[in-house]
């Protein structure tokens, strides 16, 4: 999206935007990814504890799960993908 914006901007403004994005990519993109990953790991662990039965993990207290379900619904698709994806040690390297 940001790329399209810089294309639209064109000329000197586009070049400046591109430079800003590149410097952000060098300086801080890995930090924001890492923060996102940390947050997602905590949230996904929480969803696993409360909604594990959606993945076939037997979870005992359905009352609390049902109370939380509306809040979790928007994340269920990405949570399932992330939890069920085959991983190896190299996935945690970068």
């Amino acid at each position: 999206m940001a790329d399209q914006e810089s294309k639209k901007a064109g000329g000197l403004k586009g070049a400046w935007q591109g430079l800003r994005q590149t410097i952000y990519g060098m300086a801080a993109h890995d930090m924001s990814r890492s923060a996102l990953r940390t947050r997602a790991s905590m949230e996904h662990l929480f969803i696993l504890i409360t909604m594990g039965d959606l993945l076939g993990v037997p979870i005992l207290p359905p009352y609390y799960s049902l109370r939380l379900l509306p809040y979790v619904v928007p994340q269920i698709a990405t949570w399932k993908r992330r939890m069920l994806r085959e991983k190896d040690a190299s996935d945690g390297m970068f």
Partner: protein
């Protein structure tokens, strides 16, 4: 030769290789299609898989691959063979092999649901390939850590004006983490405070230095304090070395460069009469400092220390590289001269020192082929890039057509960094290793700022940037090492799953390697394992292209060249270790033990590469005999 010619060469090579070769491969072989959904768009989870602007991704990929390799490699190669062979290999390597590896690793992962190279090798080559790759990666990281810790400890012990900046960096790293994540301060303000403090500390290190009438360097207040600390530590052992050893290659960072008379002077760490390197307690002190720094980086929450340190390191490096680049471009045009009255833009190093093909009994053999091709690792091609590309970058690619500017473009950026490093050591005129690089950077910054930043400050910045880039990588290497070690033996030896245990084991192995190893062999072994990993990633690409019924030639020829070159280079290094150390009766028990350990390591790497090569060959034949592509997304659809 002057620096402007190198800049012109760099621009021409990048333009021709990118437009005439890389774009054709992208269009005709890979057939990148902007309309085809990438894993980032198909599996978007807002975390690992996330469509990202190609500009951001270019910066991210470049930062991830631009470590100490493109700096240390050209420095070492220029010392052994001269700058011309190094320049030629950089140009040819990046044009036909380097970008191929980076770009293809990304595209293979993009076409395979964003899976890592190890997962793809499991699928397209053989299940055991993934296991072998992990063992391979651990030893590769061990060699990398050994080479980096060795060179850093030597610099910190020998240059009292450098450690202050690094100590302040550690403190600023902790402070930046606290300010950004706990106090939630403005990012720009945090950046200004911590980067300015680190730069100031680096410049303060040499402040007040002066030369005595006999030419000896007298340290300023900060340098004197570090000298006192070193002396106090050395006095604990009566100023005697803990042990002494010989380096038959003469490339150990503690050995001083020969003076104008061609003889090496005696220093605290080197006895010129006997040729013995004295391992003094202060060397061990700085090694412990490096381990403590890396321990924090490997075990603290990543936001608390490792990331802020990397962030500060990035800005210091960025400023240094930009100013040096401007200096390389403008020095020959403005005709600026250094303090000694020499033209800054002119090369002072010999273009060719030796091709090294002649074998002398009992001496190290350093033939141009294959040793140059493993000594210069990351600036021309690197296996590390393929790992980063397949895991980190491929999962964020918004359009397939972004793969070329991001993957190949970053590799050309890395090549530019290697050229800059080569330019710095070639114009320096004095010093050796990291010192020569820092001196060259000092001159370039002086020229790049049109005399505003004095050479001595520029040199301090060069030293600081060099140590920083190596150190930030080292702490991350230990972090990755403990993850890999846990994955490898954690099930068999459960205590290793504890991160403190796995980090300690990794550090002890590194310590043993540094104390007993020979630096140049350590670097060349690392280079060989790195290039071998690149060859293995190209093997995965070749087999995948074959499975897709595409023409694999553009990846297969570089793969074969790198595969045989690196295996042969590993054999040559093992031979050198045996002839110059293991079978040398003059050597003590420690270097002999270290040499044997490295010979065993070389054998392990070769066996691992042969297994993967054999499995790759079988897979290649299998796909050749199969009418349709196997197990690929395209074949199924």
């Amino acid at each position: 030769m002057n620096t402007l010619w190198v800049v012109v060469t760099a621009v021409v090579v990048i333009y021709v290789a990118y437009t005439q070769y890389a774009k054709r491969i992208d269009r005709n072989v890979i057939k990148a299609d902007a309309k085809r959904a990438t894993p980032a768009r198909m599996y978007m989870d807002g975390v690992d898989f996330m469509p990202t602007s190609k500009n951001v991704l270019y910066g991210y990929h470049f930062k991830s691959i631009a470590a100490a390799g493109p700096i240390v490699g050209p420095i070492t190669a220029a010392y052994i063979w001269g700058w011309l062979p190094a320049l030629i290999w950089l140009v040819i390597g990046v044009s036909f092999i380097g970008w191929v590896s980076d770009y293809s690793a990304i595209m293979v992962a993009v076409r395979n649901d964003g899976n890592s190279l190890s997962a793809i090798s499991y699928k397209v080559i053989a299940p055991r390939t993934r296991t072998i790759l992990f063992i391979f990666i651990f030893f590769y990281l061990l060699l990398l850590a050994g080479a980096f810790v060795g060179i850093l400890a030597a610099i910190l012990a020998a240059r009292p004006d450098v450690p202050f900046g690094i100590i302040v960096l550690a403190l600023m790293g902790l402070l930046a983490g606290q300010m950004m994540y706990r106090w939630k301060m403005n990012m720009l303000l945090v950046t200004v405070i911590v980067v300015a403090a680190t730069l100031l500390a680096m410049i303060m290190g040499p402040m007040g230095q002066k030369h005595a009438p006999n030419g000896a360097l007298i340290q300023g207040p900060i340098g004197s304090a570090i000298v006192s600390l070193n002396k106090t530590v050395d006095n604990m052992n009566g100023n005697q070395p803990l042990f002494a050893l010989q380096d038959p290659t003469g490339a150990d960072p503690r050995i001083p460069v020969p003076g104008p008379d061609g003889k090496r002077p005696t220093t605290a760490a080197y006895d010129a009469a006997t040729g013995m390197i004295r391992t003094l307690p202060d060397y061990l002190l700085w090694m412990v400092f490096l381990f403590a720094f890396s321990y924090l980086g490997a075990n603290m929450p990543i936001w608390r220390f490792a990331q802020p340190v990397n962030y500060i390191g990035f800005w210091v490096m960025f400023i240094t590289i930009v100013l040096s680049g401007i200096g390389a471009l403008t020095a020959p045009l403005t005709g600026m001269k250094d303090a000694a009255g020499n033209l800054i833009g002119a090369f002072a190093l010999a273009p060719v020192k030796s091709l090294g093909f002649a074998i002398e009994a009992g001496k190290a053999w350093q033939p141009l082929w294959p040793m140059l091709f493993v000594t210069i690792a990351c600036g021309a091609i690197s296996g590390w890039h393929a790992l980063v590309g397949s895991i980190g970058t491929a999962r964020q690619l918004e359009y397939e057509t972004d793969g070329l500017p991001v993957g190949a473009g970053s590799m050309f950026g890395e090549y530019t960094l290697a050229l800059l490093s080569l330019v710095a050591v070639s114009i320096a005129g004095v010093g050796g290793g990291g010192g020569r690089f820092a001196t060259g950077v000092g001159k370039l910054i002086y020229a790049g700022t049109f005399g505003l930043v004095p050479e001595v400050w520029g040199t301090a910045l060069g030293f600081g940037a060099f140590v920083l880039i190596v150190l930030t990588v080292t702490q991350l290497v230990f972090r990755v090492m403990r993850v890999t070690l846990t994955e490898w033996v954690g099930d068999v030896i459960p205590p290793v799953r504890n991160m403190h245990v796995s980090t300690t084991i990794s550090m002890l192995l590194t310590l043993a390697l540094v104390l007993t190893g020979t630096w140049v062999y350590l670097w060349q072994m690392f280079g060989a394992s790195n290039q071998l990993m690149a060859a293995l990633s190209l093997l995965v690409v070749t087999v995948w292209l074959r499975s897709e019924k595409r023409n694999p030639t553009y990846a297969m020829i570089p793969m074969l060249f790198m595969y045989f070159t690196t295996i042969f280079a590993t054999m040559v290094t093992a031979r050198n270790l045996y002839v110059t150390i293991a079978a040398n009766p003059k050597m003590g028990a420690l270097p002999v033990a270290g040499a044997w350990a490295m010979i065993v390591l070389a054998a392990l790497l070769i066996v691992a590469a042969l297994f993967i090569g054999w499995d790759g060959l079988k897979a290649y034949r299998r796909y050749g005999a199969t009418p349709a592509a196997l197990g690929t997304k395209e074949a199924r659809s």
